[in-house]
Symmetry: C2
Subunit: 292 residues, 2 copies
C-alpha cells in the first residue's frame, strides 16, 4: 500500500521541521507557505511546492496546517479556494495551530458536510520539540479520524493523546497555557522577591526548584532570566494570542479564572513596553520595571 | 567528644518526627510542647520533658524551635523566661518555623548581644519530608553558626542550602511559597477550564503534566483534586500566614507581586468559605463556587 500524500500549509519554525520529518519518513509532501523562502529547506529535501492552499488541498490526502492566528486558520480553511472546498472527498485535515476551540468545531462540521474529516491537534514543546519530533500533541475530533492520523502524528510527536470530539485538542492546549502562565508568573515573582531581598537568586533556585515550588518554568526559564537571556522559546505576542483565546473561551463557559486574567494583563503591559518579540520569560521585565 | 544536647520546642506534625530523628541519631534530646500529649512519642523513645522553653534552654547546647506563628516565635525567644535570656552562653538557636524575616534578624541580633548564636532555617517538604528526613532546609545566619548546625541539619534534611545572613532562610522560604501559590492557582484554573469545557481532566493531565505546563502542583495536587481528596498536606490557614508574611515583606521592599496578592485574596475567601483546615489544593473549591 503506497503512503498517502501529505500537504503542509505553514512551514515556519514549527511547521518546517514537522514537514521535514514527514518527508524523511517516506511520505510525499506538498508544501505551501506565505513566504516561499521559508519552505526552501523542504523543497531541497524533495518536497513539492504548491502555489496556493487550494491547489495543495486538491493534490493531497492528508492536509496539515500550522499557521499563525485563528484568522489565518479561518481564511485557510474557508472560502472558494479554501482547504475544505478544494480538498478531495475523503481528505483528512489536521490543524496543528493553537486556535479557537469554537473555530475547530466549525471546521469539523463544515468538513463533515463536505465529505471530509478534520482534527484539531495543537502541540506543545516549542521549536525544540518540533526539531526533535518530541511534541506533545493534543487531539480533538472523531476517533476514526484520529486512528487514521495516528501514524502521521507519531512521526512528529512523542506524547500523543486523544482528548475527545472536535475542539477538545484546542481546549486542552488552553489548559496547558493557563498552567504555563501561572507558573511563569510565579517564577518571575519568586526571582523578583529573591533579588530585591538581597539573596542570590541562583542559590535560591537550589533550595526551591526540586520541591513543592518546582515547575518547568522555574527549572528552565528562571536560569535563563538570571543569565539575561530573553531569546524566545515562545514569543510574548503568540502567548498573548493564546491567553486571549483562553479568556474568551472561559467567558463563554461562564467560569472565573482570575490568575489567567492577571497574566494576560501583565503580558499586554509587557508587550506595550516593547517586548512582543521576546520570550515569555521576559515577563521579568514587567516586575523589574515596577521598582518604586 | 560527646554530642551536644539538643532541645526541641514544638513537637507537632513537623517538629515531632524531626526530634525523633535526632534522638535516633544518638543525641540527648529535651522537649517542650504546649500540649504535652503531642510529645509522648518522643518521651517514650527516650526524650526528656521540660516544663517550659526557658527550662529547656538552660539545659541544652543547641535549641531548635518549630512553632506555629511569628507571634509564637517571638514569645518563645524573647522575655525573661525566653530562650535568648535563659540559654547558656555559647548556645545555638535553630528556628525551623516559617516566620518573618525581620523577626529572624531581631532574634539574631539579640542572640549575638547575649553571647549566643542563631539560625533561621525554615523547611519545605511537609510532614512527609519530616517523617522521611528529606526536608529542604533554607538557612540564614552566620556561616560559623551554619557550620556548627550542619551535622544536626543533615539528620533531618536532604537539601540543605546556606542562603546568607540572618533572615535569608525566611526570605528564601517566601520565594518558595510565592512560586507554590502561583502554580497551585494555575493547576486549579487548568482543571477548572478542563472540567467545564467537557474534557476528561485526568486525560488532560496526561497531555500537559510533562511539558512546559508541568509543576509539582500539577503532578501531585491535581490528581488529589480529581479524586476529591482535600486532606492537608499543607493547611490553608498556615499558607495564608505565609502569604501574608511574603506580602508584608514585599511591601517593605517596595516591589509589586500581583500574583501573590491575588493568591492571598483567593485563599482568604476560601478560608471564609470554611476551608481553613483543608489542604492548599482546596483552592479548587473557590473556583467551583464561582459557577454562574
Amino acid at each position: 500500500m503506497s503512503k498517502e500524500t501529505i500537504g503542509f500549509v505553514g512551514t515556519g519554525v514549527m511547521g518546517g521541521p514537522m514537514a521535514l520529518h514527514l518527508l524523511n519518513a517516506g511520505y510525499s509532501v506538498c508544501v505551501y507557505n506565505r513566504t516561499k523562502a521559508k519552505a526552501e529547506a523542504i523543497l531541497e529535501a524533495g518536497g513539492t511546492w504548491m502555489e496556493s492552499p487550494g491547489e495543495l488541498a486538491a493534490a493531497c490526502d492528508i492536509i496539515c496546517t500550522m499557521v499563525g492566528y485563528p484568522t489565518d486558520v479561518e481564511s485557510t480553511y474557508f472560502g472558494d479556494d479554501g482547504l475544505i472546498n478544494r480538498a478531495k472527498t475523503g481528505a483528512l485535515f489536521i490543524d496543528f495551530t493553537t486556535s479557537r476551540p469554537d473555530l475547530a468545531v466549525r471546521i469539523a462540521e463544515a468538513a463533515e458536510k463536505a465529505g471530509k474529516a478534520s482534527l484539531d491537534a495543537p502541540v506543545s514543546g516549542g521549536d525544540k520539540g518540533a526539531r526533535e519530533a518530541k511534541l506533545s500533541i493534543m487531539v480533538g475530533g472523531s476517533e476514526s479520524a484520529y486512528q487514521r492520523a495516528r501514524p502521521v502524528l507519531e512521526i512528529v510527536g512523542a506524547n500523543i493523546v486523544y482528548q475527545g470530539p472536535a475542539g477538545s485538542g484546542q481546549h486542552t492546549k488552553m489548559c496547558n497555557q493557563i498552567a504555563v502562565a501561572a507558573s511563569t508568573m510565579g517564577a518571575c515573582e519568586a526571582l523578583r522577591y529573591a533579588e530585591q531581598s538581597g539573596l542570590d537568586p541562583a542559590t535560591v533556585l537550589q533550595s526551591i526548584s526540586a520541591g513543592a515550588a518546582g515547575s518547568w518554568s522555574l527549572s528552565n526559564l528562571a536560569p535563563r532570566i538570571l543569565k539575561g537571556d530573553f531569546e524566545p522559546g515562545f514569543y510574548v505576542h503568540h502567548f498573548i494570542k493564546d491567553l486571549k483565546i483562553a479568556i474568551e473561551s472561559a467567558e463563554s463557559m461562564a467560569i472565573e479564572l482570575p490568575g489567567l486574567q492577571l497574566a494576560l494583563k501583565l503580558y499586554e503591559e509587557l508587550a506595550a513596553m516593547g517586548h512582543e518579540q521576546d520570550g515569555t520569560h521576559a515577563l521579568m521585565h514587567w516586575y523589574r520595571s515596577k521598582d518604586s
